[in-house]
């Protein structure tokens, strides 16, 4: 990789460092190493004018994912959306930010709606148009779980993208089954003997998707655009049910600075708490190695939802989170 001529100020020096870690600011890279998102030919699935919060990870993730899908299908995609932030901030009546055919039906049924669209394409013999379903973690792991499992079972030709920000952010940050243990939400406040969300057995949907042995499962993160684009492209090369879960920081729900979204996404991965991997037909085929391992505290301290964890009284919870990171590192061979 050749480095561009370095700009003079310190601020731009920092940008340059980030480029080296494959983050979004890669316009400084040689053309062949740039992501599609960095080019003027990007697809623009979501136009400007949407109402997402500053620093919204989901807005970035959705755009990167759908732009890639548009590119590889020559703009032949139809998207179905679960109720949630993405749905609300992209379609404030009477405007829409979508430049693709898009439907929102309900909170818990997006997988079935997408399956219905795929069934129509099948009945009409349309093999070029592809279908994408998207929802947040609540719409995926909780209320939409049954429909999603049915879609997996039937191996319907749908790519399901879950934007995981670990809670019901659209309704005011309540706990979902994807909320990390210990995290503060408005229904799991940091009070009492066990502050924050309980450390349950969890409901890690990528593993559940793998158990359905669908053709392709992947996890991705908004900080690594190359990896994200590659995984979407790969997913679109398969027929049948596919699942991609993208880790998307939420400044509102996490209590983080909007400017730290990309950094949080990155150190979430590098702490081992957000494993990135791929699986085909139920078997793990690839995992993204951690480049610079960071302690989990570094990730937690940037988020007010974990503030209580870092207090001495809750050292047990911190230990539990450390153990989760270690287990991920071992299970998905992240080092």
């Amino acid at each position: 990789m050749t480095k561009k001529e370095q700009p003079a100020t310190d601020e731009q020096m920092i940008k340059f460092y980030q480029t080296g870690t494959f983050t979004v600011g890669n316009r400084l890279l040689d053309e062949e190493f740039r992501t599609v998102q960095a080019t003027s030919e990007r697809s623009n699935s979501i136009d400007s004018g949407h109402r997402a919060c500053q620093g919204c990870g989901q807005a970035l993730g959705a755009r990167y994912a759908l732009d890639t899908a548009m590119r590889v299908t020559d703009n032949k995609i139809i998207a179905a959306n679960a109720t949630g932030c993405l749905e609300v901030f992209t379609t404030p009546y009477p405007e829409t930010a979508w430049s693709i055919p898009w439907i929102h039906s309900l909170f818990g049924n997006v997988a079935s709606v997408a399956s219905g669209i795929a069934a129509t394409l099948k009945a009409k013999g349309d093999t070029t148009t592809r279908v994408i379903a998207q929802g947040g973690d609540g719409g995926t792991t909780d209320i939409g779980f049954a429909c999603l499992s049915g879609m997996f079972d039937r191996n319907d030709d749908v790519l399901y993208i879950c934007y995981d920000n670990g809670g019901y952010m659209n309704t005011g940050v309540q706990r979902s089954s994807a909320t990390p243990g210990g995290a503060r939400t408005s229904t799991s406040m940091p009070v009492g003997e066990h502050p924050g969300s309980s450390f349950t057995t969890g409901k890690f949907l990528p593993a559940i998707a793998m158990a359905h042995e669908i053709p392709y499962v992947a996890t991705a993160s908004v900080h690594d655009l190359h990896d994200l684009e590659r995984k979407i492209e790969k997913a679109m090369s398969f027929r049948g049910a596919r699942y991609i879960q993208i880790n998307v920081p939420c400044p509102l729900g996490w209590g983080s600075e909007p400017a730290k979204t990309i950094k949080l996404a990155r150190i979430g991965v590098e702490s081992g708490l957000v494993p990135l991997f791929e699986a085909e037909h139920g078997d793990l085929t690839n995992s993204t190695k951690i480049r610079y391992q960071v302690p989990v505290e570094e990730y937690l301290q940037l988020q007010r939802r974990f503030a209580h964890i870092l207090k001495p009284a809750n050292v047990d919870q911190l230990e539990t989170i450390r153990a989760i990171a270690e287990k991920n590192i071992k299970r998905y061979q992240l080092l």
């Binding site: 703009n75 032949k76 995609i77 139809i78 179905a80 959306n81 749905e87 609300v88 379609t91 404030p92 009546y93 009477p94 829409t96 979508w98 430049s99 693709i100 055919p101 898009w102 439907i103 929102h104 039906s105 309900l106 818990g108 049924n109 079935s112 709606v113 997408a114 399956s115 219905g116 669209i117 795929a118 069934a119 129509t120 394409l121 099948k122 009945a123 009409k124 013999g125 148009t129 049954a146 429909c147 499992s149 049915g150 079972d153 039937r154």
Partner: protein
């Protein structure tokens, strides 16, 4: 061509004649035989270019319909009872989005207590959901009205529910005249969607609508249903021209114009009533029947017209609003108040709940009482008063008197006394 077959098989064959593109299904008694037979028709290649899918719940089934209809497919499914309730959120969504899905409801009671038999509680539970709701009296009408349902749904871009009494019609084997494919093709042109998810002309469906426009969107749904009143009548005429049969329409009168006492009802009970009215008219009674074939839209004008000479109306219905009474009776009351005034006597009869047999004998008793001006304003036909009183007494005497359903089953001897809780 004439066949002797079950109502369910006849409906499945009628649906196939309508050339649906997508059919998701989930089993629930008593509609199951319809989707079973459609599965055979698709799998064996008799129904071509149709995607048939076994989905994991009724909620998924209606959601699947929403997706396929929005993508431009002629879409069909069937359900009943608990299944309809389980898909309820999507039922409202389908009509709200204006998607012309056709669904058969094999009418069945709603639990608890769980009950698989026929009544109209399921249909009445969605009376405000924005679907067109048609009722059929016979299996011939079931065939004919399903064919009209697609045309109606697609003309207005609203979903249509064809209500067909579970077991009484679905499982009954009767003579049915199945139309020829050419006739159906002549009546029902290919589906041209009003809105469609299309990569060539991208649009967003299902955006959030705030207080500034919600009233207008809802009013238009109401307006479309009112438009349906004329279209239903017109399509029934067009149907008669091509198929040579009277089927469908808003209401059907059976001597109601020149009768002092008119029975008003929906569905298969009309058949038993006709048999009774034939007997009674031979005996000199002035009795008629008004069959309500369209419940939504509610044909208030047509009802008033048919009842304008009646002295007494007995509204017979297979469901009721607990704590209020007869649903159809109160709607008929409201409609006729406006046009006929309050000189018309309206009696409410609830019967046939959870599959209780509706006998000619019991219906005759109603007419006899009405004839003597002795019919109560609200009657639960064939209610076992002794059992009810016994349970009320038990509840009065004992705080922990136990589950009502089991107590009553024990009283009437269905559950043996030794098997108490």
């Amino acid at each position: 061509m004439l066949y002797q077959m079950s109502g369910s098989i006849a409906v499945a064959k009628a649906i196939a004649l309508c050339r649906p593109d997508v059919v998701p299904c989930y089993p629930i008694t008593p509609q199951t035989h319809i989707v079973e037979h459609l599965s055979v028709l698709v799998k064996s290649g008799q129904l071509e270019n149709c995607t048939y899918e076994n989905v994991e719940s009724e909620f998924a089934s209606m959601s699947f319909c929403i997706g396929s209809s929005a993508a431009g497919a002629r879409t069909y499914t069937a359900t009943a009872s608990q299944g309809l309730l389980y898909m309820m959120e999507a039922v409202y969504n389908a009509s709200g989005l204006g998607l012309p899905i056709v669904m058969t409801l094999g009418n069945r009671a709603i639990g608890a207590p769980i009950n698989i038999w026929n009544d109209h509680s399921d249909a009445m539970s969605v009376r405000d959901a924005g679907w067109i709701q048609l009722f059929v009296e016979s299996n011939q009408q079931a065939v004919d009205v399903h064919i009209q349902a697609f045309k109606l749904a697609e003309a207005l871009s609203i979903p249509v529910m064809v209500n067909m009494d579970g077991f009484i019609l679905t499982h009954a084997i009767t003579r049915v005249d199945l139309p020829e494919q050419e006739q159906v093709d002549q009546f029902l042109p290919p589906f041209v969607p009003r809105q469609k998810l299309d990569t060539e002309a991208p649009l967003s469906i299902g955006a959030m609508v705030g207080p500034d426009a919600f009233t207008e969107v809802r009013y238009l749904a109401h307006h479309r249903q009112k438009e349906a009143l004329a279209i239903i009548e017109q399509q029934a005429k067009e149907f008669a021209k091509i198929f040579g049969r009277d089927s469908g329409g808003l209401v059907k009168s059976y001597f109601s114009e020149d009768a002092d006492i008119v029975l008003v009802a929906m569905g298969s009970v009309i058949g038993t009533m006709q048999d009774l009215v034939n007997d009674l008219r031979n005996e000199g009674y002035s009795v008629g029947i008004l069959s309500l074939r369209s419940f939504r839209p509610f044909p208030a004008n047509a009802i008033c017209n048919a009842l304008k000479n009646a002295k007494q109306v007995i509204v017979f219905e297979k469901s009721f609003a607990v704590g209020m009474g007869g649903i159809l009776a109160s709607e008929i009351h409201m409609a006729t108040q406006r046009f006929v005034g309050d000189k018309l006597i309206i009696k409410s009869v609830i019967g046939g709940l959870g599959g209780r047999t509706i006998t000619k004998k019991s219906l005759r008793k109603l007419i006899d009482s009405a004839n003597k001006n002795e019919l109560d304003d609200e009657v639960f036909m064939d209610l076992d008063g002794t059992t009810v009183v016994r349970e009320l007494k038990r509840q009065q005497e004992e705080q922990s008197s136990g589950p009502v359903a089991e107590n009553i089953l024990r009283d009437i001897g269905v559950v043996s006394a030794s098997k108490t809780h």
